[in-house]
Every structure is written in structure tokens, then in C-alpha cells.
């Protein structure tokens, strides 16, 4: 865990109002793993007061990329950073995806901005593993495919790809998925993750998910980010420290 002040290199606007922030942070890029996150202080003032957690989206040499859209004060300030301005980064934090292991194809399931951690994930995947992506959104505006390969898309309103949820789309492709030795890696809104949990249990797929939570510290001292664990009834797991990536079986969604 480090605290670094890193200069912004570039702010890239993708479609759908998605922003990619390219930041020079060699200390982070050389150590962070896909699915880990950073807790970012967007301003030295007390407004906003707390850091903001972001997944590492991608890495290019000494640079890291963050992907987000403008939700509130923190992301608004981040989006306005100019080249040379620094951001204060705390990280790498938490446990990332277990990309090693006994499977042939990584199946990425992403809902909306849940796509954020996967460009780096794809890049970091061992050479001997294939990857395919299922990307869902409410509508075509909500579909983010940046940095992904072999993509199938679903939208709730049918404005793009399969009409329905991304879990519906997975079900449509069930035969295909069953043919291969797959492991599912997912990130997205809670209802999606809930449905996915059921889907993976029924179909006996290995599955890791990255979840979100309100956070204050991001590194385990505030106890602010509990998630119910299926293993220990008398204790919560912490999203920031025990996660944000969990085996889908280990937590109650």
C-alpha cells in the first residue's frame, strides 16, 4: 500500500460520457493486479472530504487508466483534471481476480460501468487462456465495451444486441459455455450479481465477482464496508480488505 501523488497525463472522453483518465503512476502500475482498486483523493479541500474508490481499468507501461462517468462532486472534479495536475492515490487496495487456475476461457460479465476493471484483466490474462465478454446495459448508452474482445451485448430495452438482461444473454449461450472449461468474472450492479449468483450455482460455473460498497478508508480500519459472508455468520467480511473480488459463493448478495 502506497500513497503517491501522480500527474494526470490525459483525459480521454469515450462515447456514452465515459471518461478515461491516464495517470503516470509507475509505483502503482508495476504492482497492481486486475480487480484491485485505488482510493483517490480528488481535492485537497474538504469538499469532498473522503477519497473515492476506483478500479484500475488498464495499464500501459508506467501509466494507469481509470474509467468513470460523472456521478457527483468527486467524479466531476476528476473529470476536469488537466495534464500535469496531480491526484493523490492510495493503493493498490484489496484482493483482485484470481486469473490463474484450472480453466480455459475467462467469461467476462459486465453491467454498465462494471466493465471498468476488465481491460486490464484481459491484458493480464495468461497467454493460454481465452476470453469472451458478455456486456449488459439498460440501453445502448449504458453498454461499455472498451478494451474487451469477443463481445456479446444485451440491453434491457433492446436498443442494442439481445433484448433482456445479461443473464438472459448468458442463458441463451448456455450450450456454448458448457462446452468449454470456463470461469466467470463479473462486475456490475447488485441485481445483476444476484441473478448471476443463481445462474452460476445452477450451472455449476466457477465465478468471481467484484462488488462495491460505501467506503471511508478503503484499507480496513474504519469497518465501514461490511458484506455478509456465507462462511462466518458472526462476522462481516470487509469489501475493501477481503474483497472487492469475492468468490460468488462466499458472500450474501
Amino acid at each position: 500500500m502506497l500513497i503517491v501523488k501522480s500527474p494526470v497525463e490525459k483525459t480521454i472522453k469515450l462515447e456514452n460520457n465515459i471518461i478515461l483518465l491516464k495517470v503516470y503512476a509507475p509505483e502503482i502500475s508495476s504492482t497492481i493486479k486486475p480487480g484491485q482498486f485505488l482510493n483517490i483523493l480528488v481535492s485537497d479541500s474538504y469538499s469532498p472530504l473522503l477519497r473515492r474508490p476506483f478500479s484500475v481499468c488498464d495499464i500501459e507501461g508506467d501509466f494507469i487508466f481509470l474509467m468513470f462517468n460523472i456521478l457527483g462532486e468527486g467524479t466531476k472534479i476528476l473529470a476536469q483534471k488537466l495534464k500535469g495536475e496531480t491526484i493523490n492515490i492510495l493503493g493498490p487496495l484489496g484482493h483482485g481476480f484470481n486469473i490463474e487456475g484450472d480453466y480455459n476461457t475467462a467469461v467476462i460479465v459486465a453491467g454498465g460501468l462494471g466493465a471498468a476493471p476488465f481491460p486490464y484483466f484481459v491484458r493480464a490474462l495468461p497467454k493460454n487462456k481465452k476470453n469472451i465478454s458478455f456486456v449488459g446495459g439498460k440501453n445502448s448508452n449504458d453498454v461499455i465495451t472498451y478494451g474487451l474482445n469477443n463481445i456479446s451485448v444485451s440491453t434491457d430495452d433492446g436498443t442494442m444486441g439481445y433484448k433482456g438482461t445479461v443473464i438472459g444473454l448468458l442463458n441463451e449461450n448456455l450450450e456454448l459455455l458448457k462446452k468449454d472449461k470456463i470461469k466467470i468474472f463479473a462486475c456490475g450492479p447488485n441485481p445483476m450479481l444476484k441473478a448471476l449468483k443463481e445462474f452460476t450455482i445452477i450451472n455449476k460455473f466457477e465465478c468471481e465477482i467484484s462488488i462495491e460498497s460505501a467506503m471511508a478508508c478503503g484499507f480496513g480500519i474504519c469497518q465501514g464496508c461490511p458484506v455478509e459472508s456465507t462462511n462466518t455468520k458472526d462476522k462481516y467480511s470487509l469489501v475493501c480488505k477481503d474483497g472487492p473480488v469475492f468468490n460468488v459463493k462466499d458472500i450474501v448478495l
Binding site: 500513497i3 480500519i221 474504519c222 465501514g224 464496508c225 461490511p226 462481516y236
Partner: protein, 305 residues
Amino acid sequence: MNKVDLSVNVGSLKLRNPILLASGTVGYGNEMSEFIDLNKIGGIVTKSLSLKPRKGNPPQRVVETSAGMLNSIGLANVGVEVFLKEKIPFLKNYDVPLICNIAASSIEEYVECTKILTGEETIKAFEINVSCPNVKEGGLQFGNDLNAVGEITEKVKACTNKPVIIKLSPNVSYISEFAKVVKQEGGDAVSAINTLVGTSFNIFSKRPKLFNVTGGLSGPAIKPVALAKVLEIKRSVEIPIIGIGGIMNWKDVIEFMIVGSSAIQIGTANFINPKIADEIIKDLENYCSTNGIERISELTGSYII
């Protein structure tokens, strides 16, 4: 730069500098040790410990507010036994005064916890968190009840030789009355303040953002209130005060000392910058040295009104 004496006394408790890390904002020290040298800070106050482990409240437990945050962790902790077995060994590696914060839902539980912990030599003092619901009294806060605070002070003092610090609730009309009771009943010091009761609602769902509905407000937003409470105590009771509330930098530390604090605690600021205690200690040294302050303890209660 002249050598500056940053050491302070809080009653009989000697600290190498006035910078303590506040209960609930430092865990049991291990995560923080990745960022700061625990051997340099004034002391650590543990997360509130109860007799049995507590799971704490379901999510959501934290919400940001303007220049502050609300928390309703629900006193999640490992319990005194696991603490002694699993957390103390790590802390033994460091030369840092450990203050054990205790939370309980009955006066007996406060006493019990103190008895179990007092034998552990690593623990240098107790801080009693009275901002807890008194289960017998229908969940009313101990901290709002003068008699309860008096009785807790007396009974906890009776079962330990170590300094007993009572951490006062700010959610009362006159906090100095509580400090008086603590002094009367033999308490060694008071910590002021714990968090202010606050809430926040999601206007679309109409539900509270915190599962527990209300939570405790901390951070720079509460600093003016905390300073006023410390000053109120200082002006009416002679008892050492540990100042807490919204401290973000060395200037805030000086301000808290001027109004009457012998030492201070850093809370929320640890979440934003876990190195802050280290930085503040260096800044204080610098400030004292360039301003000819030989002993920082001179500043305590040095206000001119």
C-alpha cells in the same frame, strides 16, 4: 532548529507527544503500521472493545456529508478475549502506548472488560466510551445520564490501577457537568468529543442512508463544536482533557491545545491520509522550534480571553 520537547502528561499517563489515534479510526494498529512508524506517535486508542465479539450493524455504515461523515459501525469488534489473544501480540512489537477503549451495554460489562484487560501490561490506560445504549434503561445512552457516567467511572476505577479516561458524549446540554462527575468519582481524564448524532436520507427512496437510521458525525464539520466543548470543560473543571473532533493538521492541534487539551486524537483524518499523524508530529516540532516553544505542553489551556 532547537530540540523541542513534545512530551505531554495526561494525568499520570506520560506520552512522548500529544498525537493519539482515535478509537475506531485505527483498527488495532496493524493496517496503520504500513503507513506510519507506530514507534513515533503518542499512542493508539483501540476500536471500542466489548466483552463478547460484536458483529456490528448491517450496511450501509458510512455516509459522507459536507466536510464530515456519518458512521454507524455498531461497535463491531473482536471482543476482549480475541483482542488479547490475536491483536495484542502484534502491538507488542512496537513501543507505543496502548489505550484500550471499552464499550458496553451495562455497567457490569464495563467492569468485567476492565478486569479482564487490566492485567495486560501493554495496555497503559483505559478510555471508556459512554456513548453506548444502556440496555437495562431501554437503550438510552449512558453518556446522556450523569448518574450512569458517575457510576461507570467509580466502578471502573475500582478495578484497575491504570489511568481511566472517560470519553464524553457531546450530545448533552452541558458537557462540563459530566466532566465534573468524572472528576468527583476519581476519573483521571476526559476525552472530548465523541461524534454528534446525525442522519442523512436518500430523497428518492425516502429511506435513511444508514441502516441504523442515525450515525455519528465526525470530521472538520464538527471542529468548532468540539473546541467549544473542550473550552467549556477547561473553564469549569480541573481535569486533563484529550481533545478530539475534526483535527486535520497541526494548526488544529495547536487550537485544541490552546483551548485546554493536554493531548489530542486524530480520527476521520486517518482515513483520508493514513500518514497524517507522522506529518503532524513533524509539523508541530517545526512550529514549536521556530516559535521558541520549548515544551509543547505549555500550550495547554493557554488561551487569552
